[in-house]
């Protein structure tokens, strides 16, 4: 039949079909469309819900202990004796110092190497070698933290004992070295993005003036990309503070203020991981570990917020 219809008829029937289609769509399809849009919106908000959920549920478990606690003492006392029968003490000062010292030592090692590698990837490599190096760095970022901890325990520890003539190989230096290696990949990838964002005209201008590559990097690129590089460092710091398994296995795990970089220390994260299994739900010890969780949440929140604001600032420019 269709072979007989004229052009005019086709046009008329197709426009009629279109209106019919629209009317049909009005019911079933539009309902489906609505439903899927609601689902998409819910999923979109899920990140907010989860962040609040994390804060709520961790805080809920730890909150009852806040009433019994002197916050100043909790934060600044270095006496952490949660398992003592008669004189249980909950001071996380030494743990905070442990986290800060391991993280800062890690950054002292990681920042020059991470940013140096970012400069190398972005400015000195091209084509194949750049791709290869980026793939290798991406793979390094994928190594699980428990494997890092295992490496610290079995490979690094004897090397440190031999090289530095110290009695214990699992110590602050070991943990910091692992954290440095773990946070370098993220610094390289974010740092490389920051360097890529520097306009090529800057490079051309510097080279036209007769600058060497060395001068180009120091005098032009690093100052121009300094915000992005700062964000890269901050994300590395965030990763190092939150890292658990590697520091749990490789820092030696003794609660005290370290006097040298070869002293064993203990971090906030490692304390939660090591002790939570031994506590009973609702005990003071249990609740104090959740308060440490809130403290960690707050610290990393601030660090990530700062990094994010810096990155946003660059994009606006």
């Amino acid at each position: 039949m269709q072979a007989n219809v004229t052009d005019k008829q086709t046009a008329a029937s197709s426009s009629a079909a279109a209106t019919r289609l629209k009317q049909q769509r009005g019911r079933a399809e539009m309902m489906g469309e609505r439903a899927i849009e609601v689902v998409i919106h819910l999923c979109g908000f899920s990140a907010i819900i989860f962040v609040f959920g994390i804060f709520f549920f961790v805080f809920r478990e730890g909150a009852p202990f806040l009433a019994k606690l002197n916050i100043g003492e909790f934060l600044f006392s270095t006496e952490w004796f949660p398992t003592s029968q008669s004189h249980a003490k909950y001071g996380v000062g030494a743990l905070i110092v442990g986290t800060l010292s391991v993280t800062s030592l890690a950054m002292v090692i990681a920042v020059p190497f991470g940013l140096g590698a970012a400069v190398f990837v972005s400015e000195f490599c091209n084509g194949k070698s750049k791709e290869t190096l980026k793939v290798v760095i991406e793979l390094l970022a994928a190594i699980p933290s428990v494997v890092w901890g295992f490496i610290g325990l079995t490979v690094m520890s004897p090397i440190i004992i031999k090289t530095f003539q110290v009695p214990i190989g699992v110590n602050m230096f070991n943990g910091a070295l692992l954290l440095a290696l773990m946070s370098v990949p993220i610094m390289v990838s974010i740092g490389e993005d920051a360097l890529k964002a520097v306009p090529d005209s800057y490079r051309e201008a510097a080279i036209a003036m007769g600058a060497t590559k060395w001068q180009l990097v120091w005098r032009v690129l690093l100052p121009a990309a300094k915000n992005g590089l700062l964000a890269a460092v901050l994300l590395g710091v965030g990763r190092a503070i939150g890292e658990t398994m590697a520091v749990l296995m490789a820092t030696g795990h003794s609660v005290r203020i370290p006097h040298s970089i070869f002293d064993p220390v203990r971090t906030l994260t490692a304390t939660i991981a090591a002790e939570l299994g031994e506590t009973s739900k609702g005990s003071d010890h249990y609740q104090s570990l959740f308060l440490i969780g809130i403290l960690l949440f707050t610290i990393t929140f601030v660090v990530n917020l700062a990094a994010d604001l810096i990155v946003k600032g660059i994009k606006k420019k």
Binding site: A47, P144, L181
Partner: protein, 299 residues
């Protein structure tokens, strides 16, 4: 050749020398972090490889885990990865669709983006505390595979959101406009045009999520992983995801390396090799898929 007549002045020679020094300096920085790592990973694999065998993978651990194979740990990791993938992949992809296709550029969207960034930055052990408080106790799931998987799925959500979002925003706006102009609805456009064209990025995100989930230890340690458990060697449901705790490769490595006495010395190396091998193969697949699909891209 014009260059043949060009004689290098001391100045240009000096300049060339600084150039080379600069390259070596920064190259050394990159090498200093890459080479030792490759050596260390190589060392672990060399130590672990002799005890790897099909039998090691498919027999249950014995004597509290210090002898025998890693069957129940391997299966446990696969269960956790599969379940958390089923939860986080759809939520993550739809969340990225919202951020890229629906969200307006206003303060609320900025907060959503900030929440994604912060979700990625929350320490893994805090995710573990959350899973313990929310799923194990508040939701009454107890320590189980389900609790552990849900905890990990929330933790790895940002990985999928980030790579999907990037892929969606790479699809040209003209594709969408063409689709709207023939009368397609918003969702039809997304389902038929936008998602198929960004499949490479989505796939990469999903694969990276798998590798991240497989290696994670701290959160599942608190929410549902046992240090020792033997299971049957064949069958479809080796664990009951709702009731059982399971073993996991990452946790098994931690336990054998730090807590267990008298374990065979090569055992932790062998577990580490399996874990490393799995994670690196999965990641290499992601990189390969990305490269393949990118090479087929038509615009």
């Amino acid at each position: 050749m014009a260059q043949a007549h060009f004689t290098a002045t001391p100045f240009t020679r000096k300049k060339r020398r600084t150039e080379i020094i600069a390259k070596c300096f920064f190259g050394g920085m990159a090498a200093a972090m890459v080479i030792p790592l490759v050596l260390i990973v190589g060392y672990v694999v060399v130590q672990g490889a002799p005890s790897l065998s099909w039998e090691f993978l498919t027999t249950n651990p014995r004597l509290g885990g210090i002898r025998g194979g890693i069957w129940s740990a391997l299966v446990g990791t696969i269960y956790i990865v599969t379940i958390s993938l089923c939860v986080s992949a759809p939520i993550g992809v739809l969340s990225a669709v919202y951020l890229n296709e629906y969200a307006k550029d206003n303060w609320f969207t900025r907060i959503v983006n900030l929440a994604v960034v912060n979700l990625a930055g929350v320490p893994s052990i805090v995710h573990g505390l959350f899973g313990l408080g929310a799923f194990v106790y508040a939701a009454g799931m107890g320590k189980s595979i389900l609790s552990a998987s849900l905890t990990l799925s929330i933790m790895t959500l940002p990985v999928i959101i980030a790579s999907t979002k990037e892929a969606l925003s790479a699809v040209p706006v003209s594709f969408r406009e063409a689709c709207w102009n023939v009368g397609a609805t918003r969702w039809q456009t997304i389902w038929r045009i936008v998602l198929p064209n960004s499949i490479s990025g989505i796939l990469t995100g999903v694969i990276l999520q798998v590798s991240r989930t497989a290696g994670e230890t701290a959160p599942i340690m608190l929410t549902g992983v046992a240090t020792f458990k033997a299971i049957e060697s064949t069958g479809l449901f080796l664990y009951n995801p709702v009731k059982d705790q399971c073993m996991a490769l990452s946790m098994h490595l931690y336990y054998i390396a730090t807590q267990a006495n008298n374990a065979a010395p090569s055992l932790p190396y062998a577990i580490a090799t399996v874990l490393l091998g799995a994670v690196l193969v999965v990641n290499a697949t992601a990189i390969g898929v990305r490269a393949y699909l990118r090479s087929r891209k038509k615009w």
